[in-house]
């Protein structure tokens, strides 16, 4: 994670940027087990802030991108579980291994989100590995 931003954000900016991470956290809890819910919540928050300052937009984009990548992994896990319970699929070792990998990935994302929300609220910039570079690509000044 990188902790440098080219300007020092103000109090109001830090609060809004931090809220983008909190939004995805709340949505994760509310949206379980449907993985699309947290993506939608983060997307709505992103749309509401797309005309905001660069610092706020940047963190909204990072939060959105991290949710987007989880969507694919979580959706596969969700539909696999549905077909195990109601369909033809069986709960194999492969299935359990996927669900455990999925939980680990979500946990890492969850902890990173909490950490980012706290740091960004303090006005510190947090750029995640991979997602930081991706955000730079999509979010222009």
């Amino acid at each position: 994670m990188k902790n440098e931003f080219y300007y020092q954000p103000g109090e109001h900016e830090a609060e809004r940027a931090s809220n983008s991470y909190l939004m995805s956290l709340i949505a994760i809890i509310a949206g379980l087990p449907l993985p699309i819910i947290n993506l939608l919540a983060t997307l709505i928050f992103y749309m509401g802030n797309r005309k905001s300052t660069y610092f706020v937009r940047w963190h909204c984009t990072q939060a959105l991108l991290s949710q987007l990548s989880l969507l694919f992994v979580n959706s596969a896990g969700f539909w696999w579980t549905v077909s195990v319970i109601w369909g033809d699929e069986q709960a194999t070792n492969k299935y359990f291994a996927y669900i455990i990998s999925l939980i680990v990935l979500n946990l890492v994302e969850f902890i990173s989100t909490i950490y980012s929300a706290i740091q960004v609220r303090k006005g510190k910039h947090v750029s995640w590995w991979l997602y930081g570079d991706l955000t730079d690509l999509f979010c222009k000044q």
């Binding site: 319970i85 109601w86 492969k94 359990f96 455990i100 991979l130 570079d133």
Partner: protein, 266 residues
């Protein structure tokens, strides 16, 4: 951009490696799902069979049971299937039917034995039902149609006789889906070939019954619950035609004739 693609590949690789490594652990055993499903199947088998035993006439004639046991022994020993786990029951009924119940119960109606012209036809149907057992189709069908929670509730003894009756009806008089039926047919042909029993008998049985316009009147349940018999007999013959091996009879002609006679007597 290259850096992002590289990082993306690393992240995907780490996830896939984590998944692959974790797949090598026996989670089913750790979580006890194997034991739980085995226990549930065992309990369901008992419930189903208790229901059957009290509602149907079971054939106890030692001649019939010995003949059927000989056919089952040939199929099982040639295919490395544990014969002891399969509980074969012959039920007195004019219905042309055979089906598998949970916990390896295999039910054959005397109506089916009477309808078969020789032992290869009967062995074909038995192999088809054994394939359903071996491929775990019974529990898959029950989970799909009855629901996992209802099955666990049934296994726990929390279900009315009406629910059990409906669940028994589901296995004895409704079809599996097309994919499972084909899978069972293909496996049945393999079992027959390994057991030195001509699979053409199985194909002929399906074909003859599909042509029989009086099937419905004769309550040929096995055909009614196994649609597209003509198509099935074709792919059974296709699979069987490349195997030129010597077929050995299980029962002598006289023994088979007497078995059928006994079924008519019962």
């Amino acid at each position: 951009m290259k850096k992002i693609i590289f990082q993306l590949l690393i992240l995907s690789g780490v996830f896939l490696a984590c998944w692959f490594l974790l797949s090598n652990i026996d989670w089913r055993n750790i979580f006890g799902t194997e034991e739980m499903s085995e226990n549930t199947e065992k309990k369901l088998g008992e419930i189903y069979w208790d229901y059957f035993d009290s509602h149907e006439q079971i054939v106890k004639d030692p001649y019939v049971t010995k003949c059927m046991d000989s056919l089952l022994t040939r199929i099982c020993t040639s295919n490395a299937i544990d014969k002891e786990k399969i509980k074969l029951h012959v039920v007195e009924s004019d219905e042309v039917n055979a089906f598998a119940l949970p916990d390896n119960h295999l039910v054959v109606y005397t109506g089916l034995i009477k309808e078969c012209t020789d032992e290869t036809e009967l062995c074909g149907v038995m192999c088809h039902e054994i394939a359903h057992l071996e491929l775990n189709h019974i529990m898959r069908k029950l989970v799909k149609e009855v629901g996992l929670s209802m099955l666990i509730s049934m296994a726990g003894g929390n279900s009315s006789s009406e629910i059990i009756r409906e669940a028994v009806k589901l296995l004895s008089s409704s079809a599996y889906d097309r994919k499972l039926e084909k899978e069972a047919d293909i496996n049945a042909v393999d079992y027959l070939i390994k057991a030195d029993i001509n699979p053409e008998g199985f194909a002929n049985f399906l074909y003859t019954l599909s042509l029989d316009k009086t099937s419905v009147e004769k309550s040929v349940s096995w055909i009614n619950t196994h649609p597209d018999s003509e198509e099935r007999s074709k792919y059974i013959l296709d699979k069987a035609k490349n195997n030129k091996i010597k077929y050995l009879p299980v029962l002598k002609k006289d023994t088979w004739d007497e078995l059928k006679e006994k079924c008519y007597e019962d």
